[in-house]
């Protein structure tokens, strides 16, 4: 049947209005944040006085902010690497070995997703105290592995189905040992998934405040610095910093979407 060209009616108008309002509700705060990063004046409040890049320039020359930015990249980059690697190993072994307690282990691994960061942060503080680990970037990194590992595990686990198991079987059948199966088949076959898990972990670490706040002392990450600066008052410079944080997050999310889309395409055609 051919689709009939449809005329625009009232119902369409109402749904369009609804979508517009919903999007406005979601994006207004971010939009305002970004807009006033370009404020030509000292207060990021209306009225908007015209675009300038001076606050971005100031931010990029603010040593505290730049150090924190670098710390965030370091913590996010390394903790996500660890979370993805450990999550992959856990998912592989739980998906491929018929352990009696596999189901229980899986639940246990995923459980931290439901626990608030505040509770995890407190727990880590106490644990690190007992172990004599100082509050530091390392402590934050470990904290971020704790929160991201379950997520990475879940993402990779969902991609290790029976079809993939058969592909591994084929490799074994052709003479591959276990290391070769993981290194030459499983990991490369899952690379879009692994990268997606890595990037998702990175954005969560990048935006994460509570644990970073509780576990840091001298070296801090970007959200902690922004919080500190906020306490001394609003400034378009902070808007600029927020815009940068948001921009990087969005860029990564788009990269993940692209990866997953390509992965799905390869899966349906492969």
């Amino acid at each position: 049947m051919r689709a009939r060209p449809k005329s625009f009616d009232l119902a369409d108008g109402v749904s369009l209005l609804y979508v517009a309002l919903a999007l406005l509700f979601i994006f207004l705060p971010v939009g305002a944040l970004i807009l006033f990063a370009f404020q030509d004046g000292i207060a990021p409040v209306p009225p908007f006085k015209g675009p300038t890049l001076q606050w971005f320039d100031k931010m990029l020359h603010n040593r505290r902010l730049m150090e924190a930015l670098w710390n965030s990249v370091l913590v996010g980059g390394l903790s996500s690497l660890a979370a993805t690697f450990l999550g992959f190993l856990a998912a592989f072994s739980l998906a491929r070995r018929n352990w009696r307690f596999a189901q229980g282990a899986q639940l246990l691994l995923m459980a931290p997703i439901t626990v608030s960061y505040l509770i995890i942060g407190m727990g880590l503080q106490i644990t690190f105290n007992l172990m004599g680990i100082d509050r530091s970037l390392l402590a934050i990194g470990i904290g971020h592995v704790v929160i991201n590992l379950p997520l990475c595990f879940a993402i990779v686990y969902s991609q290790l189905g029976e079809h993939q198991a058969n592909i591994e079987r084929a490799a074994r059948d052709l003479g591959a040992n276990e290391w070769q199966v993981v290194g030459l088949i499983t990991a490369p076959m899952l690379w879009p998934t692994l990268l997606a898990a890595y990037f998702i972990a990175f954005t969560l670490s990048w935006d994460e405040f509570v644990i970073a706040f509780l576990l840091s002392r001298f070296d801090v990450t970007l959200p902690v610095v922004i919080w500190g600066l906020l306490r001394s008052g609003l400034s378009p410079e902070l808007n600029a910093a927020g815009t940068l944080v948001f921009g990087i997050s969005i860029a990564i999310v788009l990269a993940v979407e692209l990866l997953l889309w390509r992965g799905r395409r390869a899966a349906t055609h492969g």
């Binding site: 079809h163 084929a170 059948d173 003479g175 591959a176 490369p188 076959m189 690379w191 055609h269 492969g270």
Partner: protein, 351 residues
């Protein structure tokens, strides 16, 4: 006798209480094309998986070329498998897929790519080496899977319902190509399927399985014409089965009393034994040619045109029968059809 290529020695597999494969002995000669045929749950795939090293038997030993491979993992067995879903490596080129087994054997890159190209040529995919797996059609993937498996020169090639995902025309074509390839390589193929037509057209020997047991095995023509069990008679093609009781044997023929009257069969049987008389639709004749015995007049109830013949449902003394009437002689519903059968065609199956 020389040592067979494959020997199963009272191999069995249980999952808890469930018997997937009952005590099974089977020998497969070098260069033989064996088809394991049966419905799902018949144990055919279990038997294949045990040979491939993917399933560990609960008891029994498996020998390949006289060597006990029961405890060897799949990676160290001289077998290669073509999987039902092909299980190609999605992140590798076609050539890398085919060359994978050779890489695992430590062959140099130039050598293995040369061999991969040869294998691709053998399966009709010359020049496809650089393509990605996802750029291939289903039939082409099937060929790559085949090339990948034969590239390692396996002592036995295992095919697990390899044509199940292909459409009918392609399936026919691949059946012929599998046989051609097997002859050309002089290789030993063990092929699992539930499609009896496929089994008949490609096998040197069909192994009919049911409930984890071998019901019958032999050349397709023998299994088709003289099935050893009721199940084999039913599963391999269409059959008319008439219940009866053996009266006795005289003049080299066995007399069986059935609902359609007394039938004479060449096959010997014990007196008073209860049997099924099996008769293929195409073995029902319509005249007394070649000494066929008269069965009586059957009434045509239904028929359908099949191209080469009419498939006719008819009733003879309360017994439903299926016959094949030549395409040039269209039947009529309600028509009386005189039926005859030769004593040599009747198969007596113990109940």
């Amino acid at each position: 006798m020389a040592e067979p290529r494959v020997r199963f020695q009272s191999v069995a597999k249980c999952y808890g209480e469930t018997i997937a494969l009952a005590d099974t002995d089977l020998e497969i000669a070098a260069g033989e094309y064996v088809v394991l045929l049966g419905p799902s749950g018949s144990g055919k795939t279990t038997l294949l998986s045990i040979l491939g090293g993917f399933v560990e038997p609960s008891s029994g030993r498996v020998f390949i070329n006289g060597e006990d491979v029961t405890d060897l993992p799949a990676a160290r067995r001289p077998t290669a498998t073509v999987f039902q879903d092909y299980a190609l490596f999605p992140h590798m080129s076609v050539a890398a897929n085919v060359a994978f087994g050779l890489a695992m054997r430590g062959l140099r890159k130039t050598q293995r790519l040369k061999k991969a190209e040869e294998m691709l040529e053998l399966v009709g995919l010359k020049g496809f080496g650089r393509r990605g797996v996802h750029q291939l059609s289903g039939g082409q993937r099937q060929r790559v899977a085949l090339a990948r498996a034969i590239a390692v020169d396996p002592a036995v090639l295992l095919l697990d319902e390899p044509l199940g995902a292909l459409d009918l025309a392609l399936r026919r074509q691949m059946q012929e190509e599998l046989v051609r390839l097997q002859r050309q390589l002089g290789a030993t193929f063990v092929h699992v399927t539930h499609d009896q037509e496929e089994a008949m057209s490609i096998a040197d020997r069909v192994v009919v399985m049911k409930d984890g047991r071998i019901e019958d095995m032999g050349p397709p023509a023998r299994v088709y014409l003289k099935p050893a069990s009721l199940f084999a008679a039913r599963f391999m093609g269409e059959n008319n089965l008439i219940e009866g009781q053996v009266v006795g044997r005289a003049n080299g023929q066995t007399a069986v009393d059935t609902i359609v009257g007394r039938l004479l069969a060449d096959q010997p049987a014990e007196p008073s034994e209860k049997v099924h008389v099996a008769l293929r639709p195409e073995q029902l004749r319509f005249s007394a040619e070649l000494g066929a015995q008269a069965l009586g007049d059957a009434e045509v109830t239904e028929f359908s045109f099949q191209g080469t013949h009419f498939r006719v449902h008819c009733r003879l003394a309360g017994q439903e029968l299926i016959a094949r009437v030549p395409a040039e002689e269209p039947p009529l519903a309600g028509e009386r059809l005189p039926l005859y059968a030769r004593a040599g065609d009747l198969v007596l199956l113990r109940q």
